[in-house]
């Protein structure tokens, strides 16, 4: 009994060393030193208050999208369209920043709301394709991601191009009121952090303590039975997409208002896919999203340093992140397999 408990603990912790071993292997293949690389990543993420601020900033969109994905995953939906929803949020917020020339507070409020609206609409589109077109949300969402990517590049190169000519650098910087205030000289906007945490708390309680959350859970576990029990499936699924999209859109608005101060082609920067990993790793429980997001954000902020100091590509951060999730899936499966074998043995005994 004690032995099996020890195995249990070891298996719970196993994914991390497994993922690190895999990453180290990749580093060794290209002739890098794993230890040196990890040291660089850690230093790159935490060496100064400025770096820590960057990590927190990188964390914000991951928390927002991760919380949103907890909603869609609870409803049994694979909303892989987060990337596009971030982009649409950024586009809507940029429109506000460019066209509404009011003081800071109303402009920022409008930008946040517009971003949420844009993301929600893009999310709903994937939902509508699923509900009325029976196109699986993975294909609908992915297709819409690429369409959104095309849209943002078109905007930057055509109607919103810079005064001196279109470039991949993005639009002209926003007017001053459209910049989210940062904490002194650090690149972190307290308002963004507050918004992310507030969204997380709201999602946590919405999933636990409301009819809406219960109905989503029922739809996710058995769609047909939930429908027959009277859960209005279409509106619930669409709201799940809309809520997740709104949070992703909020992340997009924050990215262009607090981080870049303009719209850039890479405004989503793969965060949508990364937040899917965050949500998978959290097993769709919002309370686990912030620590995981923090870990991923640290990897994301720390790994570009490898390019500067070790001439290694920063995508190693992504390798580590994905391999952690893969290792968790494999180890979970392995534990379930062991449990099944044990149950069989006990039955035979």
């Amino acid at each position: 009994m004690r032995v099996s408990k020890l195995t249990d603990i070891l298996l719970t912790l196993a994914p991390l060393p497994l993922a690190l071993a895999f990453t180290s292997l990749a580093l060794l293949i290209v002739g890098g030193s794993p230890l040196e690389a990890y040291r660089q990543i850690l230093a790159g993420a935490f060496e100064s208050p400025a770096k820590v601020a960057d990590v927190v900033t990188a964390c914000v969109p991951l928390v927002l999208c991760g919380a949103g994905l907890c909603v869609t995953f609870t409803a049994g939906l694979w909303n892989v369209g987060v990337e596009g929803q971030i982009i649409l949020g950024a586009i809507f917020a940029t429109w506000v920043a460019r066209h509404i020339l009011w003081p800071q507070a109303p402009v920022l409020t409008l930008m946040v709301l517009a971003g949420m609206l844009g993301g929600a609409l893009w999310g709903m589109l994937a939902g509508l394709l699923k509900v009325y077109g029976r196109v699986h949300e993975i294909f609908g969402g992915l297709g819409l991601n690429y369409v959104a990517q095309g849209l943002v590049i078109w905007l930057i190169f055509n109607p919103w191009k810079r005064a001196e000519g279109a470039t991949m650098q993005g639009t002209d910087p926003f007017p001053a009121p459209a910049w989210m205030p940062t904490l002194g000289r650090l690149r972190v906007a307290p308002l963004a952090v507050i918004l992310a945490l507030a969204a997380l708390v709201v999602i946590y309680f919405a999933l636990r303590g409301t009819r809406w959350g219960l109905e989503l859970k029922a739809l996710g576990k058995n769609f047909r039975a939930a429908f027959l029990l009277g859960v209005p499936s279409t509106p619930r699924m669409l709201t799940a997409f809309a809520v997740c999209g709104a949070l992703a859109g909020l992340a997009g608005a924050i990215r262009c208002s607090a981080v870049y101060g303009r719209l850039i082609p890479e405004i989503s920067g793969g965060l949508g896919y990364l937040s899917l990993l965050v949500a998978l790793l959290s097993a769709y429980r919002p309370q686990w999203v912030p620590p995981i997001a923090l870990f991923f954000a640290a990897l994301g902020v720390g790994s570009p340093r490898l390019e500067l100091n070790l001439q290694l590509d920063s995508s190693i951060g992504g390798v580590t992140e994905a391999s952690v999730v893969l290792a968790v899936l494999l180890v979970n499966g392995w534990r379930a397999l062991l449990a099944r074998r044990r149950a069989l043995q006990e039955e035979a005994a």
Binding site: R134, Y146, G150, W154, L329, G333
Partner: protein, 326 residues
């Protein structure tokens, strides 16, 4: 438009469709046996990078191809292990692998970015390539293109005409019934998932060694998702899947012809870049939307059934579900 231009265009469509054909045929084999290998997009990128890196380092295109197929097969093996032996969600495993492979390809491929490297040699088929019209379109290419055409015929013939093919269908369709007939369900699922993965690897190799030479970041750009959608569009039937892949190639070629046409110079290039994915959504709508059901219901029953049969395929009954004995 003169004939030689038309022939040239058709030949280039046949060539350019090769990776999509290979990947979607590979995925068809895997899904026919009941395993969804969702990792295609990453798997193709990783195998394309491997093919180029190995060919570049060793100077041997053959070794590059073999290495790419091994990579594709290995990724598929991970999918098979996680979903068959460990009974994890196939979609989750596949999706994570997509991201992992794509990042891994970027990381490991950095030293090879935009380097000139070896290329699959051009190899017209003797005699056949001399046939007017058909010859230059189908038989004046390199080995990849012939392999892709062969894979269509061979897969169809294997699945529908041979005994192991019947078993392959059975395992995907109703694993319990296959088991009752003495078929080792999980072993076959492993086998066909890995074989399908090897074809996906070949698709990657055809990319970096023939269609879009060399390696760069985001080199394969979403082609795996297109291939996955084409399997659905083609109703899990090799001929129709291949037709879908070539149709896609045709649309892409039309796009680039339009793009070069001065009349369309006002249309921004980004529209053309995202068009394939909009097309993908539209194609899936066409085969699965309820609206199409309603339109079909307006037709006479016989015609509606025939059209339904011609246009749509049913997924294998056991697709995506683990087989548990007893």
């Amino acid at each position: 438009m003169d004939t030689s231009f038309l022939i040239q265009t058709l030949a280039s469509i046949v060539a350019a469709s090769t990776p999509v054909v290979l990947a979607s045929i590979g995925e068809t084999i895997s899904e026919k046996s009941g395993v969804i290998n969702l990792s295609l997009d990453g798997s193709i990128a990783l195998s394309a990078m491997t093919a180029f890196a190995v060919a570049f380092t060793t100077g041997s295109v053959t070794l590059g191809i073999l290495a790419a197929m091994a990579v594709g097969a290995f990724v598929a093996l991970v999918v098979a292990f996680a979903s068959i032996t460990l009974r994890q969600q196939q979609v989750a495993v596949g999706f994570v692998l997509t991201l992992l492979c794509a990042d891994l390809a970027d990381f490991l491929g950095t030293p090879f970015v935009r380097k000139p490297g070896p290329e699959m040699p051009h190899l017209p088929v003797p005699y056949l390539s001399a046939i007017p019209l058909i010859g230059p379109i189908l038989f004046d290419h390199n080995l990849f293109i012939y392999l892709s055409m062969l894979s269509i015929v061979a897969t169809w013939w294997y699945i529908y005409k041979t005994q192991p093919g019947l078993k392959l269908q059975g395992v995907g369709e109703r694993p319990e019934a296959a088991f009752a007939r003495g078929v080792n369900v999980n072993r076959l699922r492993y086998l066909y998932c890995v074989v399908g993965g090897a074809l996906v690897g070949l698709a990657g190799a055809s990319y970096s060694l023939s269609i879009k030479l060399g390696w760069s970041h985001r080199h394969t750009f979403g082609i795996g998702w297109i291939a996955l959608a084409i399997v659905i569009f083609g109703g899990w039937n090799p001929w129709r899947v291949a037709a879908g892949a070539y149709l896609f190639g045709l649309f892409k070629a039309l796009g680039s012809i339009l793009q070069r046409n001065p009349a369309f110079s006002g249309v921004p290039t980004q529209i053309f870049a995202s068009a394939p994915f909009a097309l993908m959504i539209f194609a899936l709508l066409l085969v699965s939307s309820e609206g199409v059901d309603r339109l079909l219901a307006l037709l006479p029953v016989r015609l509606a059934r025939a059209l339904d049969r011609a246009m749509r395929g049913r997924p294998p009954g056991g697709l995506g579900k683990p087989f548990v004995q007893g």
